[in-house]
Symmetry: C2
Subunit: 469 residues, 2 copies
Amino acid sequence: MPLLQQYHFNASLSSSSSPFVAPLSAFNSSASRNKNVSLPPPNFGICRCVATPQEAKTQTAYKTNVSRNANMGKLQAGYLFPEVARRRNAHKEKYPDAQVISLGIGDTTEPIPDVITSSMSKKCQALSTLEGYSGYGAEQGEKPLRAAIRSTFYADLGIDDDDIFVSDGAKCDISRLQVVFGSNVTMAVQDPSYPAYVDSSVIMGQTGQFQKDVEKYANIEYMDCTPENGFFPDLSKSPRTDIIFFCSPNNPTGAAATREQLTRLVQFAKDNGSIIVYDSAYALYMSDDNPRSIFEIPGAREVAIETSSFSKYAGFTGVRLGWTVVPKELLFSDGFPVARDFNRVVCTCFNGASTVAQAGGLACLSPEGLKQAMHEVIGFYKGNTEIIVDTFNSLGFKVYGGRNAPYVWVHFPGRSSWDVFAEILEKTHVVTTPGSGFGPGGEGFVRVSAFGHRGNVLEACKRFRQLYK
Amino acid sequence: MPLLQQYHFNASLSSSSSPFVAPLSAFNSSASRNKNVSLPPPNFGICRCVATPQEAKTQTAYKTNVSRNANMGKLQAGYLFPEVARRRNAHKEKYPDAQVISLGIGDTTEPIPDVITSSMSKKCQALSTLEGYSGYGAEQGEKPLRAAIRSTFYADLGIDDDDIFVSDGAKCDISRLQVVFGSNVTMAVQDPSYPAYVDSSVIMGQTGQFQKDVEKYANIEYMDCTPENGFFPDLSKSPRTDIIFFCSPNNPTGAAATREQLTRLVQFAKDNGSIIVYDSAYALYMSDDNPRSIFEIPGAREVAIETSSFSKYAGFTGVRLGWTVVPKELLFSDGFPVARDFNRVVCTCFNGASTVAQAGGLACLSPEGLKQAMHEVIGFYKGNTEIIVDTFNSLGFKVYGGRNAPYVWVHFPGRSSWDVFAEILEKTHVVTTPGSGFGPGGEGFVRVSAFGHRGNVLEACKRFRQLYK
């Protein structure tokens, strides 16, 4: 199936039950960043993907007596990326002959090196033999893979093999961590940040209602990450929270925290008795000499959890494999180890990553796998990043990120992110991601992903140059 | 790796952070079901796998100021199956030369038919090609697989393709459903039942504390399922709850509800405005002419969710693939569709099942896959079941289940399940599952799984005959 058809196909699935009420037609196609497009209705920036009860046939249909979970009702929008996919799909329907290029969701496009897929393929074939068949694996992952993750990413950092929990992805682990924490914790996030942190917090009942005036949920601390502060929050102004979600290199801004900044972050957590959930899913994209793991910072094992993923390292977005490190030194206030509760949730709510994916993960961490998947494929996407950065720089935009992450964060001062998203889609058939989808701090920005075939990235950049020349 | 070594290997992983404080030595090896073994300490039946805070080095270690989630603290034991695996492992260490046979956790042992693994293998290889590579799939599963699940299992039952959510397993979906429901619902379970229902309910905060005198959590309705009532609860004595977990054919009792019983259950839910979460993971093991889906009952789409799995149908315990059906007719009390909230949780807390597993699932539902995986492999395990049933029958035990499920439920009246479990393990090197691990209603029973190589099942039954002759 050709790539673009496949995209289209996925988009239509993702959005099958995600109605979106703000009309696309609200977008004014007048296209120049120096010229304001007609103002959208006040709530345009919030994609209201949650239907109101009235939309159901309340008069005639049988209803149970089970109350809807009030926390689910707080959610203001469908999850960001299915919504972006839905918009892409609608665009494809409007322009069936257009060559739509997706630099949106951050989905890997390059084939997985053969050394890895061969290993997965062999594992599949072995499942048809008496000797090679295996059923349930350990919920925490296979021992050789846990050991390989430790030695590859955490050598000499004081992490043990059994601190590592293999999973079906970092996003899934974030929700399992939220289940461990429960509803009575307070949390902080970088603003902007990957939306799974905030959304899972809302679902678990850690937050208050959405406050439309500031576009924030009550009871979440949004730590401003702006060009002015180098995308690192001013901790002197940050109140204590129980949990601090921190992603570096950051999705979406691409900013990577320095050793000095992370040392301050760990000290801040220690002073407050907070737990940092550190998302290092893009660490291998770093060009600068910043820490690739929070555990490079002395004392971090007592205050931090780290979650990461093979998705962006080895093109495993569809294969599904990640891991989370919960050091045994990390204790709740009563001295109970966080790892034991995480283990309990992993055993009760999860049954381990697919053994086929785990075979692939082990191959990724072989010398050949590391060379081909980690270095060559990542190097390829980093090449894309440079092309995108150069393009927007040459057009006079302020551009951030890119150097340490596969995301380019482009500033469109004074404009609505969803407007710019729609303008780019309408005029160039290129899908990006609106910055405000990552939090109010992302308003006025658009995230351009570097995941794409080289030809598509070059073509997209050519169209950007035509649109914004 | 030989099969038994692999088992041992998995067990040691599963239990790496699951301390168990009740000593195995409490078991008296005197072995006859007619003779009482020495009484265990009062709490022996409860495996206390959750360490008390004092176990951590509270004096010296740094502690965060984050309070442990009180709901996690309510859990009385490690999740049942890792605990069984831990015991098996300890036994292997005690008797390194013993040929340990596992009829415990219900883990499939037979190779997956080649028609299925070939398809998975091809998918892996395709991931190394430009044309065959695919990244993120739809969170809800690939369209052809959703369609195939519908046409195979739900033809003419009024279920649409997009009512079906593909997942990494029914156990995982149970927890995602609990996240959708939140902490303010009340729930009922069959007693005994698969422990993931109760444990996930505790974790989500739906329950009160564990009441040691009755070995039940407060605020859960345990519906007695005993030989006396044919393992179907007396609904006239059951109070209303928001959610009713119902597994048929039941794990662990093997009892399958009849059409008449399920019609009463649906009517009971409708009268009360309850939601049934129907677990049909063993439906294809049914010999009797009972419904294989709750949606065979008229009106069920307005009150029921169904979750199921490829694990026991196609040996996918390690591959990880299941599905959940949430009909669009199922509404919360305010008229909001349950499916929309489930979709939101699936999109936010999950990223889809592995595309390789999904390729396997699609092959399972091809005509060849259905014949080989569903009918031949299931038929093989059903043959095992007959052998186990005959063995215990011939020894004079009361035996339940087996006919409609891969589990045999053996009664040891007046004895502790954990005692019998330990007796069987010590004397025959066969791992079973203690009935009380499924709820207080399972006390006095042991579950014997029919998942095993034929030679192992025959050998285990020979040993049972020697022990209980």
